[in-house]
Structure formats: C-alpha cells, structure tokens
C-alpha cells in the first residue's frame, strides 16, 4: 500500500473528472474528515484517515481490500474506473442519462443503451462525454460514455447506440469474484 505518485494521481483525476468535473475537490477536501487515495496491488482505494491508520497495520500479503475501490491501473498504467466507484460518482455527476424501465435490464446485463431505451439526457452533453446512467426512479445503475451529443440523440434512429456501457451494478453479481 502506498500513496499515488504525481502521474498516477493525475491520471485518476482526469478519469474522474470526465464524470464529475470539478466536483473532485469535494471528494478530496471533505468537511467531515480527511480522505485519501491509496494504491494497493495496482488498485486505487478511497478511504478515510482513520481507516488508513488501521489498515496500515495489516501485512501486505494479507490485505485484500480497504475502503472503496475506485478502479485499477492496467499493466500499461492506464486507469480503469470500476463500478464500485458509482456511490461517489452518482451524487456529483454532471451529465446524466435516464433509461426507460424496459431497457434497464438490458443495460444491467452489460449492453449499450439504444435510442429506444433512452428516457432523458442532460442538456449540453458532448459526444464521448462521461455520463452516469440512472433508472427512471433516479436509482444509479452505472456509468458510461455518451455516444452521441444531446442534439444528435434527437435526430438519430431508434436502434442506434446513444450510451456506451462501461460499468453497471449488475457486475456485482456477474463479476463477483474479481471485484475487490
């Protein structure tokens, strides 16, 4: 377990910033305690200082997970955000997509969101902008990347993909073994 280096922090913040923009500083600078990021076995964890002090006394080989896992660094040092970060992305998301009840299931199985399943979308969403996907009852289902901007979404045909799937809460069941 170690703190992130400058380059690693930059890549993590860039990735997070694609979804929550400048609200990252609300994650970094919290009024209710000191929270920090730590790297353990290529995974980035977000945890409070109190928890960090406790986790520091566990040997490295025995430590499985700590705090919330935000994502991991791949072998080529690219940061990949995982669904376990959804709890922190959802409240601060800038661009949101609401999915109709019919295609919720489809999204939760790992498919992309089609125009026919699109309920609402935030205005001014740019193309390839990171978005958080909600159900019509405002329950966060996951996150993805907008395949079309808001304007284009209106014109496009119903079978076109509007949101590329990146992570959804169905992964908690599907990838139970690999999530930390």
């Amino acid at each position: 377990m170690r703190p992130l280096t400058e380059a690693e922090t930059r890549s993590v913040f860039e990735k997070l910033g694609r979804y929550i923009g400048e609200n990252i500083q609300l994650l970094v600078d919290r009024p209710d305690g000191t929270y920090c990021f730590r790297l353990h076995r290529d995974r980035v964890y977000y945890l409070s200082e109190k928890l960090l002090k406790v986790a520091a006394s566990i040997p490295r080989d025995n430590l499985v997970s700590l705090g919330t896992c935000f994502g991991k660094f791949t072998k080529s040092q690219k940061f990949r955000l995982s669904v376990t970060a959804l709890d922190f992305l959802a409240p601060y998301a800038k661009y949101k997509v609401w999915v109709k009840p019919g295609s919720e299931q489809s999204f939760l199985y790992g498919n992309h969101v089609l125009k026919s399943g699109l309920g609402r979308i935030t205005e001014n969403t740019a193309q390839y902008q990171g978005v958080v996907v909600y159900s019509m009852a405002d329950v966060p289902l996951g996150f993805g990347v907008a395949a079309k901007s808001t304007q284009e979404c209106r014109k496009v045909d119903p079978m076109a993909i509007v949101v590329f799937h990146q992570a959804d809460v169905g992964e908690y069941v599907r990838n139970e073994d690999t999530l930390t």
Binding site: P3, N124, Q151
Partner: protein, 324 residues
Amino acid sequence: VEEVLAAAEEQDAEKRRSITVEKELELEFDLGNLLALDRNPPAAAGLRGACPRREALLRALARDNTQLLVARLWELPAERAGGAGGPLVAQLPEPTFRLPREKPPPRPRPPTRWEQFARLKGIHKRKKTSLVWDEQAKEWRRRWGYRRAGGDPARAWLAEEDQFARLRREKRERVARNEFNRLRNLARAHRAGTAVPAEPLHPTGHQSREELGHVARVARVSTASLGRFQPRLPKEPVEPPSRSGGRKRRFDPLLGNLSAERSRQLELLRDMGSKKPVLDITRAVNKQLRQEEAEAAAAKGKKQSKRGKRGRRQQRVGRGKKSG
C-alpha cells in the same frame, strides 16, 4: 542420660563424617589456582547411562572434593587484612598448573607487498654501519649528523651557484620525472589492455562530460558526512544522493502529512482545471444542427401553415432556452 549422651555422640560422629573424607588416592592440589585434581577412578556402574542416582552420586563426589580443597586452604598461612577487624585472608602460593590457551594462537601475518617483492628479487636487508670510513679525513666518521663522512654540508656555499635555487630546481626536476614515469606506467598498463587500477579520469585531459560528472559525484560523496553538507555551485541541482545509486523507486511515506497531500492534490486539480479548453467544437456543431433543424422546420411549416406556425413557435422558444 545415656540416651542424651548417645544422641550427642551420634551428632558428633555425624559432624565428623561430614568433614572427613576417605579417598584411595590422595588428591593433587594446586592452591595457587584453587585447583584440586582427583585421580580416583569413579564408580563406573553408578555414572553410566541416565540412571536417576547419577545426579546424587556426582553431587556427593563434588562435595567431597570441595571439602578436601577447603581443608587444605584452611591450612595455609593466613592473616587479617586491613587491621584487626578485617577479613581473614589466606596467602596462596604460586600456581603450578599450566592452564591451556583460551584462544587459538595467532596466525603468521601475510607478507607485505615489499616483502613479497624483496623475496622475489632476492633482496636482503643490509645492516648499515653507523660509522663510515672518510677517505679525505682518513678516519671513521659517522654516516650522518655532526661531522659526517661526506664533509661539512655548509661548504657548498663556496660554489658559485645559488643553493636555494639549485635545491628548488632539483625538486622540480624530480617531481617532473616522477610524474612522467607515473604517466608512462599508466599508459603502458592501458596499452597492455589490463584494467587501469582505480584511475577515474583519463590522464591526458580528454574527459567526457559523463566522466567528469561521475567523478564530481564520487568526490562529493567522499567526505566524512558522505556529501551531505558540501556546498553546491549556484546552478547545481539539489538532489539527495540515493543510496541505491538510482536503482530503486522511492515513494511517499504511507501515513505522511495528509494535509500536505490534500493541498497538493487540490493544486493539481486547479492546474488541470485551468488548462481545459472550452468545448468550442461541440457548440459549433450544436449551433449548426439547430440551424439545420430550423430550416427543416421552416420548410415543413410552409407546407402546413397552421400546425407549422405553432410548431415553429414552440421550437424557437425551446431553442432560445437551450442556447442560454
């Protein structure tokens, strides 16, 4: 009364038994070392194996021998140390028993480089005589010092040349000759292809930049504090010397100053935020799309006048909101 006497006699006998010891062979004593040597063969049957009586037997043996030793010690001439009230001190005789060595004897040291060379060349030490025969004075004079064999060294002032200058010149020549020979040896070694020993810089002055840097670094670290308090040149970068020589990565401490970490991250966020370019392209594209939609709507509206007008109005209102 008889019983009491018998009991007292038994007690006496008991006491005497405790201080008298019967031995076949007399013990050998070395009172200087407080040593008693018992050459009596031990009771073999009792001591063999791990029988429980062995402990008791050994203890009894030790007690008996100690008794004899102490009895001998009491026979020594004794006196009171430190006046009348002091303790009784016995005067031990000289020790006779040679104790074995505690540590192994020292190994002969390896011969020095000169010794090896001398042995190789067959050079032997020649003892210099303290007196030398002086031919001029025709007598034995000392080798150096007052009235030495070579004559008075102050006589040299009679010669024309300036002695101080001469000495200085000779020293300069000697130094130059030595330096020349050293460089020649070095060149010979280098030419022969053998590893030039511990010479970091090329002697003729054509050092590369890396070589100079390396040598400067080594020189910096070759102080008693390993280069920690050496003054730096104005533009020399401040870098702590890595003990592994740049091999291992060093990370921040795990529980280091968390508030400093937080402020660093906020600064990083600020830097990242300031450099983000405004998404002009998307806006331009959106504007273009809106224009196209407006034109398409206008074209539709001309065909169906009433519905089209309503639609146009609605669309225009909506677009106005969006563009805000």
